[in-house]
């Protein structure tokens, strides 16, 4: 009995720690804003940092399955939902920051029709919405075998985010290439282990 409680406690502690770690980028950003070190174009800087954090955590989320496979420890799975929700959290802040701090709620229609890379970001966000909404235990149970194919939407979403990122580049694409390679490896491992069909969302099997 005592051993079980201890394990549960350790599990909870680990979860709290991951939760706090995921909030570090936000804390750093807020501290930079308060100390005035985000530069003369804060809206741009804040939007970019939140977007990049969302993408980074998205890649971490995609790392969970390979980690499980490679280490043989399925405990990693416990952090996946939380990380996924943090992706959604940072992406939402990213979009809010864009609208309020950078765009100032200007001409939304022109903004999106003029900037195709924003459409990519928006499409990625639209794909993430149902994932966030169906992340609860109750929804998992209700969707049953349909849950997993639905949540494979994260793969096209990740691809769209990368395009969203790449398309903004003006000249040096080093950063985009690095993130692209990471994403390619993470998805490639799945194809290697379970075949190409394992990446296709919304299809059972």
């Amino acid at each position: 009995m005592a051993a079980i409680t201890k394990r549960v406690m350790a599990g909870v502690a680990a979860k709290v720690m991951v939760f706090c770690l995921a909030l570090v980028p936000l804390a750093l950003l807020i501290s930079d804003i308060l100390t005035g070190s985000v530069g003369p174009d804060p809206g741009q800087a804040i939007t970019e940092r939140l977007g990049l954090t969302a993408f980074q955590i998205l890649l971490l989320t995609l790392l969970i399955t390979p980690l499980k496979k490679l280490t043989g420890w399925s405990g990693w799975l416990r952090y996946r939902r939380m990380l996924g929700l943090f992706v959604f959290f940072y992406a939402s802040l990213h979009i809010l920051a864009f609208l309020q701090l950078l765009l100032g709620w200007g001409d939304l229609w022109a903004t999106f029709t003029k900037r195709p890379y924003l459409v990519m970001g928006a499409a990625a966000f639209v794909l993430m919405l149902p994932l966030a909404l169906t992340s609860t235990k109750g929804m998992m149970r209700r969707l049953g075998r349909g849950w997993k194919p639905l949540h494979r939407l994260i793969y096209p979403a990740a691809g769209l985010v990368w395009v969203h990122f790449l398309w903004q580049a003006r000249s040096d694409i080093t950063e985009m290439v690095v993130y692209g390679v990471v994403l390619f490896v993470l998805l490639g491992l799945r194809v290697y282990w379970s075949g190409l069909s394992s990446l296709i969302p919304l299809r059972r099997g």
């Binding site: 003369p40 804060p42 003029k114 003006r170």
Partner: protein, 324 residues
């Protein structure tokens, strides 16, 4: 120690207003600390180049060419730069431009002119008096600043070099030295170095075209294009090429860096024009920096960045949507 870091091409000591008058206390302090530190820690010397090697300049105010809009604070002008030779982040140039040495500096003059040759910077500048012009700077990325430049009219330097009748264009090049410019060492940079820019002769001779050697009364910090850069305020910022090492007078229109990179997005002319959008974003408005934390500081972009009166005649009869 500090004296040595100062470029030698600026005016002789006697002609310069004593630096102490220009220095505010804070700067003086960092300068002093920097000098002390560089005596003991050689590695710090580089880091200090960009900020403490600056020298006060002697100039007159050319108010007839200056805007009275609120100036962008010095800290922002020197911390937020596009200078891809040092990285693509806005803060990269301030961090890494200190790795570039700007003294001594020479400029190669070549092509269709009577006075070609390699000029030490001080020789190129010697015949001219400095003036200060407060210009708007509009970046193609839809942000803008107001900057007090110190320098000489480009036309004066061009006259000194005596272009001949075949000279229809002026071409400029930035320093290309991967050892000093880490952005040029990047594997995935799509810019073909060196950075290149150009103007049509009549544009270059326009009264607004300016060669800056300083800002806010002191020599240029490296990240702003030390020791000499172009400023063409009616064009997008990327036309205002930094750290110039080559000037060529040419008969043919030269290829320019951004045009080479993405000809559908950036043209040779690159005049500020709210009516012609960039393919990936609108050019109707700009964020005047510093922008607000809670609300962006959007203002309307004006044709030729508000210098229509001085430059519109250069483009009479030209379709500016075609020649963007």
């Amino acid at each position: 120690m500090l004296i040595k870091q100062r470029p030698s091409w600026v005016l002789p000591e006697s002609e310069v207003t004593p630096k102490s008058i220009y220095l505010n206390r804070r700067k003086f302090m960092t300068g002093a600390i920097g000098a002390a530190a560089s005596l003991t820690v050689p590695g710090l010397l580089h880091a200090n180049d960009a900020s403490s090697g600056l020298k006060a300049l002697d100039y007159r105010s050319a108010t007839e060419y200056s805007t009275d809009e609120k100036k962008t604070p010095l800290d922002d002008v020197t911390a937020y730069n596009n200078f891809y030779e040092f990285g693509t982040g806005k803060g990269d140039p301030a961090k890494y431009a200190g790795e570039m040495s700007v003294d001594p500096w020479s400029v190669e003059v070549e092509g269709e002119c009577e006075r070609p040759g390699r000029y030490a910077l001080e020789d190129l500048l010697k015949p001219h008096d400095y003036e200060e012009r407060i210009y708007r700077l509009r970046c193609v990325e839809a942000w803008s600043m107001v900057i007090p430049w110190v320098g000489v009219p480009l036309a004066d330097v061009i006259k000194q070099l005596q272009p001949n009748s075949r000279a229809k264009y002026v071409y400029f090049e930035t320093l290309h030295d991967p050892k000093q410019m880490r952005g040029q060492r990047s594997l995935f940079s799509t810019v073909e170095w060196p950075y290149r820019e150009g103007l049509r002769m009549d544009e270059a001779m326009n009264e607004l075209a300016f060669l800056a050697v300083g800002l806010y009364g002191e020599t240029l910090p490296n990240q702003n294009g030390a020791p000499i850069r172009l400023v063409v305020p009616w064009k997008y910022g990327f036309k205002s090429i930094k750290s110039i090492v080559r000037i060529r007078f040419a008969e043919e229109q030269p290829k320019t860096s951004w045009e080479m990179l993405a000809p559908n997005e950036y043209g040779f002319y690159a005049n500020v024009n709210p009516e012609v959008d960039h393919p990936r974003w609108s050019q109707k408005q700009e964020r005047r920096l510093p922008s607000g934390i809670l609300r962006p500081n959007w203002i309307e972009t004006t044709k030729f960045n508000g210098y229509e009166e001085q430059v519109a005649h250069l483009y009479k009869g030209m379709d500016l949507a075609k020649y963007y």
